[in-house]
Symmetry: C2
Subunit: 339 residues, 2 copies
Amino acid sequence: MERVRITSADVAARAGVSQSAVSRVFTPGASASARTIEKVRKAAAELGYRPNVLARAMVSGKSRIIGLVVAYLDNQFYPLALERLSNALQAEGYHILIFTAPNSTDGIDGVMQDLMDYQVDGIITASVSISSTLADRAEAAGIPVVLFNRGQGDAALSSVTSANVDGGRKVAEFLLAGGHERIAHIAGWQNSSTGRDRQAGFLAGLAEAGAEPFALFDGMYNRDVAMGCTRELISGAEIPDAIFVGNDHMAFAVIDALREAGLVPGQDISIVGYDDVPLAAWAAFDLTTIRQPVNRMVNATVSTMLAQIEQPDTAPQQIEIEGELILRSSARIPEGWKT
Amino acid sequence: MERVRITSADVAARAGVSQSAVSRVFTPGASASARTIEKVRKAAAELGYRPNVLARAMVSGKSRIIGLVVAYLDNQFYPLALERLSNALQAEGYHILIFTAPNSTDGIDGVMQDLMDYQVDGIITASVSISSTLADRAEAAGIPVVLFNRGQGDAALSSVTSANVDGGRKVAEFLLAGGHERIAHIAGWQNSSTGRDRQAGFLAGLAEAGAEPFALFDGMYNRDVAMGCTRELISGAEIPDAIFVGNDHMAFAVIDALREAGLVPGQDISIVGYDDVPLAAWAAFDLTTIRQPVNRMVNATVSTMLAQIEQPDTAPQQIEIEGELILRSSARIPEGWKT
DNA sequence: CTGAAAGCGCTTACAG
DNA sequence: CTGAAAGCGCTTACAG
């Protein structure tokens, strides 16, 4: 099983032209006469020639590879985002080199280094923050970085998130309007911007109405942790009449735990999530939640990334996309609530 | 924002050695004196030098990139497999270039070509078949291909699947033993080997007991299709007392449709799925199902892939991994059923 | 062990 | 438009 590589020189020999002529025929933008193009295409087809992308990358300095760092693949939001990102990038002639993120920041730095060794044209991190050392290094290397679904107070980094503070506030207003009086929050991981922002908006919304949370937990974006919090919440003498959960993935755990205790979401306790992953619409959960518009987030990510690749002096952008509250049966709907 | 690349020549100049010496220090297996190693490492650290993986790939002919073609990312089995594959490959110093598969075979061939242009060392396709033209081309190029969770009657291709025929048969035996008399099957996509094999085993199992399916549908591995089939199944005068569903992803849809009609899975109708994705264990579904052991499938995939990369004359393998029936509440358990 | 040199497969000024 | 040549950043025989 010998690897027989067909090179542009082979095609050139067969077509009776120079190697550069072959290269020009396969380089978008370069020019060649109709006659040459025809001879080269014919020879290439006969030989089954295809340009070596790696060689092209070496000389052009553009690999057309985007590095993607992902985590939380058990949260349906991310596979979905991955699929959309991949499709959008493929359409632009880029491809994704994927790295699964270890849990520590150290680990992520290592992974980012590996990525840069592959001479990627850009890096997208999904649900992952990076150290400022690494941000600096990427900047020095001229590799644009876009944080997807995570913000970081660093103007040198682009980021795309939904309007998390605003979303948290919307939930507070919605639950208050529904007449809930004991509203708990199982927050997203407090070491992540999304977890903190949603909580901040939520608490602000309560405070503006003179209310306070019934209880506050860090659910760590983890299913088991969220279940544990829920069991604790409903084991006391007084239990909450509503729980705002930091993302849908944890909200499903909350609902499972509630039912296990014989409580009915939407009747006994209102549950609101965040994300609106496809599962949220399934009858088994029918979860009221804030929608994070994946498509719009993906499009923003891709366009800011490409802008920075193609025009290296483009400034990084911090993009926030508004999310809407999706009403379903897991939470009581206030009388006359505007859709 | 100029891209300043630091090369081995820069390091050599600063360390006062030749460029080849620098290369040797960074090439596993190559030898250099302790003195040289020290000087080079020091200079490299000061300059922030890292070898260009693409250049290395060009000369060595090994990119250490594995192409992965995926589809069905909404079926939790695949994101999980992707994560495990990525981790296992990262541990071996390989990385994944990911391509999302279009739905047509033509489209997939195009994608495979793109992959080969990147000089990948191997290709893994998850839940996707490839044309024989492409299989030939990959073989000619010396690029090993492993089909993950899909078989194809082609000895030149490696494949890793669970024992699908056997799994289907187990389900038939289980449901029969439970005294079910009207057993329907919403099969996996009949253009896929997994869909066909599970169905074949299931029908064989019924036939051996002199039974026949109550009804047979192709669910296409699609949620909406599966819901449609279910509604049709339960709208008649006589309804099934059990449904074997070709994978968990569709089984969740079946359960949703059943509940919508006021039927209780496990009481009114027994439901059995295939895969045992994490969701199947959630209280909301508690689905009886055949487990596809992701870890073992991933390990088999990685080891057969690496074997073929490292020893090009290694023969392709067709690996089948046995799956166990996981009992939960969605299906009636026969008296005295051996676990 | 070490350096000079060739070469991996391309693109891209540079002449013509 | 076209070809000869340099060069992208490495690895790896080849001498010494």
